[in-house]
C-alpha cells in the first residue's frame, strides 16, 4: 500500500511514517500544500492522509484535484478543527473518511486499511494470519475453511488487533475504536477486557495458540 501523508507537523509525520513503514507500507510525505500538489501530480497513491490546515493552503482544496486525476485514490482527512462544516465539505467533495486530532496511530491505520480495502481491493480482500482468514466485507471469519462465530465487537476488535499486529494497543484506543470517542474510557475498560478474554479463548480453543498478550498496565499486543 502506498500512502502519502500531507502534514506540516514533523513529529506527527515521523510517527506516522515510522508506524506505517513497520506495517509494510510505502510512505511519502508532503509538508506544504505546494509539495502535496506536486507529488499528487507526479505519482499515484492508494491513500492520501490529508491535514486540512497547511501553511500555504487549505487541504480541502486538494480533494477535488485528487478526485479529478485519480478516482481510485482513497482520501482520509486529518483535522485539528473538528468542525462539522469541514467534515461535511470534505466528504461531499469526495473524501472517504475524516479523523480528528488527537488520534491514535492504530485508529488511523485501521481506517486507512479500511479505505484501501474498499477502494483499491473493492472489498475483495482477505486478511489472513496463520490458518485464519477474515473477510471484512462480509464480516465472516474462518479457520481452515470452517466458519468461526464471533460477536460483532469481537470481530471489530480482532480486525483492529490484526491490522495493528505486533503493537501494544492501549485499552483507551480500543474503547475509542469500538464505541466512538464520546465515551468515557475508564468505565469501559472492564468490558474491553471481557471481549478480549472471550476472543482470546475462542482463538486459543480453535488453534491452540495464544495470540493476544497482555502488556501489564499498557494494553494488549497481538502477534502471529
Amino acid at each position: 500500500m502506498k500512502v502519502l501523508f500531507v502534514e506540516d507537523e514533523p513529529v506527527l509525520l515521523e510517527e506516522m511514517e515510522t508506524y506505517f513503514n513497520s506495517h509494510d507500507c510505502i510512505c511519502e510525505q508532503a509538508v506544504t500544500f505546494g509539495q502535496a500538489e506536486q507529488k499528487l501530480r507526479d505519482y499515484m497513491y492508494d491513500v492520501v492522509v490529508l491535514d486540512i490546515t497547511l501553511p500555504d493552503g487549505n487541504g480541502i482544496d486538494l480533494i477535488e484535484d485528487i478526485r479529478k486525476s485519480h478516482l481510485e485514490t482513497g482520501i482520509l482527512i486529518l483535522s485539528a478543527k473538528d468542525s462539522l462544516q469541514d467534515k461535511l465539505n470534505g466528504l461531499n467533495l469526495g473524501a472517504d473518511d475524516y479523523l480528528t486530532k488527537p488520534f491514535y496511530l492504530e485508529e488511523l491505520n485501521a481506517r486507512v486499511n479500511a479505505i484501501y480495502r474498499r477502494k483499491t481491493l473493492k472489498g475483495a480482500e482477505q486478511i489472513m494470519f496463520d490458518d485464519f482468514t477474515m473477510h471484512p466485507a462480509s464480516k465472516s471469519f474462518f479457520f481452515k475453511g470452517n466458519e468461526v462465530s464471533l460477536t460483532r465487537k469481537e470481530y471489530d476488535m480482532l480486525i483492529y488487533f490484526v491490522i495493528n499486529k505486533n503493537r501494544v494497543v492501549s485499552k483507551a484506543s480500543i474503547v475509542e475504536h469500538l464505541w466512538g470517542d464520546h465515551f468515557d474510557q475508564s468505565d469501559n475498560f472492564d468490558t474491553v477486557y471481557v471481549h478480549m478474554k472471550n476472543l482470546r479463548k475462542k482463538l486459543c480453543n480453535i488453534s491452540g495458540k495464544d495470540y493476544i498478550k497482555t502488556v501489564y498496565g499498557m494494553g494488549y499486543k497481538f502477534t502471529y
Partner: protein, 412 residues
C-alpha cells in the same frame, strides 16, 4: 408601561392640575368681578331711585323697597349682601343680592333697598367644572389620539429596527440593516446600533478565529503527546514506569476530551450547526443502544425500552451527541444490576436510571464542571452539552429523582 401610556399618564395629571387651578381662579375672579359690577349697578339704581324721590315721584318698582323713617335710620350702614327670596312662579327660593342705603332726601331720611337676582354660584361653579372637565377630557382623548397616530408614524422605524435587532445575531453572515428615519435621536441611535453590531461582529469573528486557532494549537501538540506516549508504550517498561506513563496518557485523553467538549459548547452557543433535517430519534436511540449493548450487559443493567417513532427537525450530528450523552450518563451513574428505562413518545424523551441520589445540588447538574468530586468519571461537560442542544432546539430538559431513580426528560 408603554412609552405612550407613560406620556399620557403625565399628560393627564398635568392637564388635571392646570385645569383645576385655572378653573378655581376663573371661578373666584369671575365671582369677584361680577359682585363688584352688581354692587355698582345696585348703587346706581339706588341713586336713580333717590333722584326719583327727590323729584317727588312716587316710586314703586319691583324689587325696590323704600322705607321712610326718623333720624335713627341715618345711623344704619350701607349694606351689600345676598338673601333668599321665594319665587312664586318657580316655587323655589332663589338667591338675590340686595343693596341697602340710608339717604336724606328733601330733608327726610329714607332707607332704600334694591335687589337683583343672582344666578346661583352653585350653578356657576358646576358649569365651570363641567366645561373644564370636558376640556380636560378632550385634551386627553384628542391628545392621546394625536399622539398615538403621530407616534405610530414616528416610532414605526424604531419598532421595525427593534424587531431587526431582536432577530440579529453577530454570528450571522448578514450585516445589520436599519430603516432610515428623520428623527434626530433615532438617527443617532441607528448609528450607534450599527456601530455596535459591527463591533460585536468583529469581536465575535476574532473570538471565533481565536477559538479555532486555540483548538488547532492545542490539538496538534496533544496529537504529538498522544502518539509519542503510545510509542513509549511500545518499549519494555518497568511496572513503575508503566504506571507513570499510564497516568500521563489518561491526562492527555482527558485534556483532549475537555477541549473537544468546550469547543462543541462554543459552537452550540453560536448555533453553528446547519445540517438541520428530519431525524428519526427512534433510529438514533436504537443505533446507540445497539452500540452500547455490551456495556449495559457487562454492568448487568436491565434496559427497558418504550420507544415510539418520533421525527425531529434538528441537526443529526447533535442528535447523536444528545442521545449518546444521555445514555452514557445513565450507564455511568446507574448502580450495578440496576434498571434503565428509556421512553420516547411524541412529546417526550425520558431516560431514567436507578442510582444513588445526587451528592450535590440539582442546580449544578447541568452546569459546566458542576459536579466537583463526584464527577471524576466524566469530563463534566456532558449534561451541559445536553442542555445547550435542547436550548437551541427550544426543548425543555428536566431532571427529577424519585423511587431511587434519576429521571432525565426532554419535552419537545
Amino acid at each position: 408601561m408603554k412609552l405612550l401610556s407613560k406620556i399620557s399618564y403625565y399628560h393627564f395629571w398635568l392637564s388635571a392640575i392646570v385645569l383645576g387651578i385655572t378653573g378655581c381662579m376663573l371661578f373666584f375672579f369671575l365671582r369677584n368681578e361680577i359682585s363688584k359690577e352688581i354692587e355698582e349697578q345696585l348703587e346706581l339704581q339706588t341713586n336713580m331711585v333717590a333722584e326719583e324721590i327727590h323729584m317727588g315721584k312716587n316710586v314703586a318698582f319691583p324689587l325696590v323697597n323704600i322705607t321712610e323713617g326718623n333720624e335713627s335710620l341715618m345711623k344704619l350702614p350701607k349694606v351689600f349682601k345676598d338673601t333668599l327670596i321665594y319665587d312664586k312662579v318657580q316655587k323655589v327660593t332663589e338667591g338675590y343680592y340686595y343693596f341697602s342705603e340710608s339717604r336724606k332726601i328733601n330733608g327726610k331720611p329714607y332707607r332704600i333697598m334694591v335687589m337683583t337676582t343672582y344666578i346661583g354660584w352653585d350653578n356657576y361653579s358646576k358649569t365651570i367644572i363641567y366645561i373644564f372637565l370636558s376640556i380636560a377630557a378632550l385634551l386627553i382623548i384628542l391628545g392621546t389620539l394625536v399622539n398615538y397616530f403621530i407616534s405610530r408614524r414616528i416610532w414605526k422605524p424604531f419598532l421595525i429596527n427593534l424587531k431587526r435587532m431582536q432577530g440579529y445575531s453577530v454570528s450571522s453572515k448578514e450585516e445589520l440593516e436599519l430603516t432610515l428615519t428623520d428623527v434626530k435621536e433615532f438617527k443617532e441611535m441607528n448609528k450607534v446600533l450599527i456601530d455596535l453590531a459591527a463591533r460585536g461582529k468583529k469581536e465575535y469573528t476574532a473570538l471565533k478565529e481565536f477559538t479555532e486557532n486555540a483548538s488547532h494549537e492545542i490539538q496538534t501538540p496533544l496529537s504529538i503527546l498522544k502518539t509519542r506516549l503510545e510509542s513509549i508504550s511500545q518499549q519494555p517498561l518497568t511496572v513503575d514506569l508503566a504506571r507513570l506513563l499510564n497516568d500521563a496518557k489518561q491526562a492527555t485523553i482527558r485534556l483532549s476530551k475537555v477541549n473537544k467538549g468546550l469547543l462543541l459548547l462554543a459552537k452550540l452557543e453560536n448555533n453553528a450547526f446547519t445540517d438541520v433535517q428530519w431525524v428519526s430519534l427512534q433510529d438514533v436511540l436504537k443505533r446507540n443502544l445497539d452500540l452500547m449493548e455490551d456495556l449495559f450487559e457487562h454492568k448487568g443493567l436491565h434496559v427497558e425500552q418504550l420507544i415510539q417513532n418520533k421525527l425531529v427537525y434538528a441537526s443529526s450530528f447533535l442528535m447523536e451527541i444528545l442521545v449518546s450523552n444521555l445514555l452514557t450518563n445513565a450507564l455511568s451513574y446507574a448502580t450495578a444490576k440496576a434498571k434503565i428505562i428509556i421512553t420516547l413518545s411524541e412529546q417526550t424523551l425520558e431516560i431514567s436510571n436507578e442510582g444513588e441520589p445526587l451528592s450535590f445540588p440539582v442546580s449544578k447538574l447541568f452546569t459546566r464542571f458542576g459536579k466537583g468530586a463526584a464527577g471524576n468519571k466524566g469530563n463534566g461537560l456532558g449534561l451541559s452539552i445536553v442542555k445547550q442542544i435542547c436550548k437551541i432546539n427550544n426543548w425543555q430538559v428536566n431532571y427529577h429523582y424519585n423511587n431511587s431513580m434519576h429521571h432525565f426528560s426532554i419535552t419537545f
